[in-house]
Symmetry: C2
Subunit: 631 residues, 2 copies
């Protein structure tokens, strides 16, 4: 017996033809698939062909679905529906699956009598049983008379046929804010199938919500873990299956979606198992979420020329060349607590990254408590690992690939032991600091192509325990940018994720220029933003100019001293305040080569946000500056 439930995915979650879907599900490691009928109808091969294909791939066909609008119809539809069922039983037998999903009837003609529904389902189950098949009944959240799992369960109990059982779906239950806890009391063997789906919390028609906005468990905001815990407490031992209708998934690369799906199932099962059985070994032995103490470094892929230009740019921000790698064409730049690495080593991961994306961040080093355990967790969650060749005495950094292929390196610093920099670099004597020191990397913002947000949220949430903050819509002059910050519990790692369907927004332009997702913006934490901005301005650093109207409005919105307002205006500093009185001062540089840019930020009084209120002004200024630079 495996240590986990059989893992299944509905073909409707995946893009492409049925062949593509089955291959992707099998390759990533699913045990089975739900055959969504539409994928069979559009397929140019018989159900027997599908059976063979699945068998060759080692995939079970866990269910055939959906069978709609069956129960409690008046005659003659009642009889016709039974005939229709027989035709679908033929298909199931050819497919080699014994279970069909009957979802609750949505027809206006459907009779609101549970006894009638039970009688019809009993008839269907009896016919199914004669062929060795089974029927599962599921409450659709928008069913005509049956909407909640208890109503469906009541009908299943009334029908009282061994070939009829209950099917539950986390979306249908949780979308109605229905309480799943009672599922724990059901006899587990009467639950024939369990479907899992999450969704962002939208206040909209539940059918539209379900058809277009579902996503994988952990990508949304529904309490799927509690639902699953209740289901598992019933003793249910069948497959856990993903059923997601999502416009973006329909268009996304099929392997990417399959991997995200399996990652999500592993996390969901581990999450549901963990606290339910204290003292016992969880079903999936997933190493714990690492404790992150910060972003140890960022590494830029450059060539020799771009490296010189970027080094000069960083010099203008007060960075100094602090070391050279012992064996590679890699330089360390430092300002205060911030380490930036410029990698121009030929024939390396960085070199391939440069070739594909131009000058760009190719790796992020995260400081973790236990690098080996973090790497094992990432591996268990299907992250590709990566090993770069290195010199004999150099440190081995476990590394994994983020969804965009960029590397995340796991750095474990132990008190009293040499650091990564001591081990791997010839460090240069530190010169006196140019300007107030940077206290660390406050946040790193990545630009994602449309359709990548859910995958990145799941990656950072699952592998590193970052939690998503609410999504914000930021108005760029050329369209909206959607932004969602992933932040760990201690606030030591903050990674905003930005995406935009509009191609000419700051985010859209970055995606075009960089040929894909990547780091768009790096914010440094400082003690005093005014002092830092003044030092930057004094050394001729390229600060982004902010228009005067912004400051006139600030003075209307906030009770700022005249002197402070004047300083903000003079230094091109932006200002924000939260409801609790925390405040935020920040200034931006113009971009390096119309690519990424930098920010200095000062947080006071527990301000935890990112100055989103100022994003419109910043993005308009960037667009203006870049247009001026081009023209």
């Amino acid at each position: 017996m495996p240590g986990h439930h059989s893992r299944s995915i509905a073909t409707v979650c995946l893009s492409g033809e049925l062949t593509d879907k089955l291959e992707a599900a099998a390759n990533i490691g699913f045990d089975g698939v739900e055959i969504f009928e539409n994928d069979l109808l559009t397929f140019n091969g018989s159900p027997a062909d599908v059976r063979r294909m699945a068998a060759d791939l080692g995939l079970a066909i866990t269910i055939f679905q959906p069978f709609r609008d069956f129960e409690a119809m008046p005659e003659p539809q009642r009889r016709r529906n039974l005939d229709r069922a027989e035709r679908k039983f033929d298909v199931m037998q050819a497919l080699g699956t014994d279970l069909v999903l009957v979802c609750s009837n949505v027809q206006e003609a459907c009779i609101g009598d549970p006894a009638r529904a039970a009688a019809d389902l009993r008839d269907m189950a009896e016919r199914a049983a004669q062929r060795g098949l089974r029927v599962g009944y599921e409450a659709l959240a928008w069913g005509r008379h049956t909407r909640r799992w208890r109503e469906a369960w009541d009908i299943v109990q009334r029908a009282d046929h061994p070939a009829l059982g209950l099917i539950v779906d986390s979306f249908h239950t949780l979308a109605l804010k229905d309480d799943p806890s009672g599922l724990a009391e059901l006899p587990g063997e009467r639950i024939f199938f369990v479907q899992l789906a999450d969704a962002p919390l939208y206040d909209m028609d539940v059918l539209q919500w379900s058809r277009h906005y579902r996503n994988f468990p952990g990508q949304g905001q529904l309490p799927v873990t509690g639902f699953l815990r209740a289901v598992l407490a019933s003793g249910y031992s069948g497959p856990l299956s993903l059923e997601i209708f999502n416009d973006e998934f329909r268009a996304a690369p099929v392997r990417q979606t399959a991997r995200d799906g399996l990652r999500s199932l592993i996390l969901a099962e581990a999450g549901a198992a963990a606290p339910s059985a204290p003292g016992t070994v969880p079903a999936t032995p997933l190493p714990p979420v690492p404790r992150l103490s910060g972003i140890e470094f960022l590494e830029f892929a450059v060539n020799e020329a771009a490296g010189r230009q970027l080094g000069d740019f960083l010099g203008g921000l007060g960075f100094q060349l602090a070391g050279r790698h012992r064996s590679k064409a890699v330089e360390l730049y430092r300002q205060g607590q911030v380490n930036l690495v410029l990698n121009s080593e030929p024939d390396s991961a960085a070199a391939s990254h440069f070739e594909m994306h131009g000058p760009s961040v190719c790796a992020m080093g995260l400081a973790v408590d236990d690098a080996a355990a973090a790497a094992r967790r990432a591996e268990a969650l299907l992250c590709a690992s990566w090993n770069e060749k290195r010199g004999v005495s150099e440190r081995l950094l476990p590394a994994l690939r983020a969804p965009n292929g960029a590397l995340v390196l796991l750095v474990e610093n132990q008190p009293g032991r040499p650091t990564l920099w001591d081990d791997d670099f010839h460090l240069l004597p530190a010169a006196p600091p140019a300007g107030p020191p940077l206290l660390g990397i406050d946040h790193v913002t990545q630009a994602l192509a449309p359709g990548q947000m859910d995958g990145f949220v799941l990656f950072y949430r699952g592998v590193f325990g970052l939690e998503p903050e609410p999504q914000l819509d930021l108005p760029d002059p050329q369209g909206l940018v959607h932004s969602r910050a992933m932040v760990n519990a201690g606030g030591t790692v903050r990674l905003p994720l930005n995406t935009s369907e509009a191609r000419e927004t700051a985010t859209g332009r970055f995606i075009s220029a960089a040929a894909g997702a990547g780091v768009h913006h790096i914010a440094f934490l400082v003690e005093d933003a005014a002092a830092s901005a003044a030092a930057l301005a004094g050394s001729g650093a390229p600060l982004l100019p902010i228009p005067g109207n912004y400051y006139d409005d600030l003075s209307a919105r906030f009770a700022l001293e005249d002197a402070e307002l004047e300083a903000l205006r003079r230094l091109n500093l932006l200002y924000d305040q939260d409801a609790e009185g925390g405040s935020f001062r920040h200034a931006y540089t113009t971009s390096f080569a119309n690519r990424f840019f930098f920010e200095v930020v000062q947080r006071r009084g527990g301000y935890r946000q990112f100055g989103a209120n100022n994003a419109a002004v910043r993005m308009a200024a960037q667009a203006r500056f870049e247009a001026g630079r081009r023209g």
Copy 2:
């Protein structure tokens, strides 16, 4: 006094920087703009600069907006809000506008007492009056205490100050299904400003609906005309202003949006004026919607080689060369009642079209009752007209450009007079027909790039009186295709519009291949689809193969005779039925050069749809066929 109200648009409707927005609004012919504050804050110039810029462009600044969360706050916010108002009055005076929009307070702290709200607004109005300014109060549909226009009007009446008036917005009123008819009873001079917006009918949170999905009047489904009629009946004589928050508009080319906006205002005003004053001349003398009797022809842009290939392809579908243009390299192909024109004339509109888009439909000829009047209507609705050079004795066809630049030619056929074809072509003797004759062009489907749907809906609705049918989501293997048919009252012209954010769907692939919007698919009406499909198959025409599973499912869904089912299967015919018993039989060709394709359709029993239930099967078959052809 002009024959219409002053026409205004809020800068938030338009993409780009404030400069771009003002220029676009002025160039298309708006009289004024609402300055949306965010557009001022992000602008790198003073309010006085904006005033000069608007004056130079001949634009009035009709209002400054929004001023949020003002009324009925406890101290100290109350006092701060009055200070904030004074700062914004400064801005208004520098801008040179006398009116500010105060939208109802959404803060939790806001006191639910109309008398308090009235007292605060009176204070504000008194301060405004001292500077010669005015304040308009508007109920937001999601305001804390004031949501409906009557509640706002009650507060304005209580405040009783000449510098305080009511502002109404069609979206806020109609989104709550509030009745606008009482607006007619208000004293018109107490309404200070009128904003117009439409929206598709979505059942979702009204704030999200408003922020992301508004569109121009006539693009959505709200009864904006009735709202406007009530407002105008009050005697309101101020500007009519568009205020649209729409994610697609934010990213669309600014001139396109400005033109759509003005077109929509002209139509809205004409619509509101028309029936209210029978016997009088409407404010905007807009020629009536033309009566369309059908699609007279489609014209393909080709070069010599593509023309030969397409001619051969059409020959396979039973078309015959029926004539040659008297003066140009233009050929007429005919089958039954369908005319297809192949234009390879160098140095023509078709030649430019071919150069940009490859072989494609460059013009559609619509048969109208009065071509001159239709052309005048189109011109009044801001359509660019087009005149191709022509031979001396040839017919002058009024032509206008669709939003994608394709030509729509207006053909007026009069009984007993020579036709276009007689006038302009050397007609060849008709050969005996190859196969059952085509009865006409049933529908023409266009593929639109994302963001173009609203503009096309307004164009066909406004210029030709076609009405949009509900939007459908069609599942292509690589993503959803959204489809909406525009149909005239008589059903003689049917133009489905398809769009897809996903680039690898059938629609997405067409947009890439054809470099923009265009005709993707042409359906011919036939008497008997089986006879036509059999004739096509017999002559070796390239019919799209349909998988067997589709027919197995048909037999489960519909009570079809075995013989009919066998015929459908053998002939690759698809079948659909509507709720009233109407039926639809249709078959597709494979595509010409992976571009456009053809369909034969048979309608029975009043079936009015387009077989959307079969779209998934058709699109999967097309993707499979094209992949096979490529690989």
